[in-house]
Symmetry: C2
Subunit: 160 residues, 2 copies
Amino acid sequence: MNIDMNTRARPADPTPCVIESRVKGVRLHMMREVRDARGDLCAAEVGRDVPFLVRRSFMIYNVPSAETRGEHAHRVCAQFLMAVRGSVRVLADDGSQREEFCLDRPNLGLYLPPMIWGIQHGYSHDGVLLALASDLYDPADYIRDYAQFLAAVRAGKDAA
Amino acid sequence: MNIDMNTRARPADPTPCVIESRVKGVRLHMMREVRDARGDLCAAEVGRDVPFLVRRSFMIYNVPSAETRGEHAHRVCAQFLMAVRGSVRVLADDGSQREEFCLDRPNLGLYLPPMIWGIQHGYSHDGVLLALASDLYDPADYIRDYAQFLAAVRAGKDAA
């Protein structure tokens, strides 16, 4: 899935919509954007766009475009990602399916449930990624090795 | 209070701190920023920086620099404001004291409790304001008339 239209070319106030991806539980939200002469506004609301109460927000910026960030999964923490400025590419992988998303406007939000391997790359020079997270920072929640991630996915399937 | 240092000139990873303002309950948070060759990260955590569970986030951008936004108070909703890109000035007013804050870096967060009159102005051309809010959007929560705001402040004091 590669939504890469020119931001300025699109009509104002597009209809909000949600696009299911082929990666388990990963969804792309096009949120309502309200535009007028005083500036533009878009909102992400818990219960409508974000399926968790937000306990942490973090931003990533000043990322050289050749850099890759992420490269981990969370056991419990869910996240909702937005490129609040510029653009960034996000790869999501559930252990059997993977898909890449181009976040290139503030009103696109990517929901990543727990147990999704995520990679961010291709930051534009002005790119700012905002993540809303369901949980506070906990190093024990991270899986940083892909083989270990696959083993954990298999273990989860076997337990189900 | 006018923190207006050049972002590039400051030392990396400043010590997080909280500055109480003279406006009732309004606080400026300098959050920890983690910088390395792969880019910079800063986080706002509920319980540490943000004293409420976040139920809505919204962004304001593409604001002409001559424009003024805000000009209202919330009866119940609390907010935590950050300039995730560029800069914006925020005036906060509790009905008897007012103070202006310059949000000019991602790791500055301004906590606005309910019943504070807020105005944002002086957006830089690339300015993006991010607000984390304690409540979903509710038009009934807004006080948009300053005289009405002062009356509500007085009524609150009389009831206390």
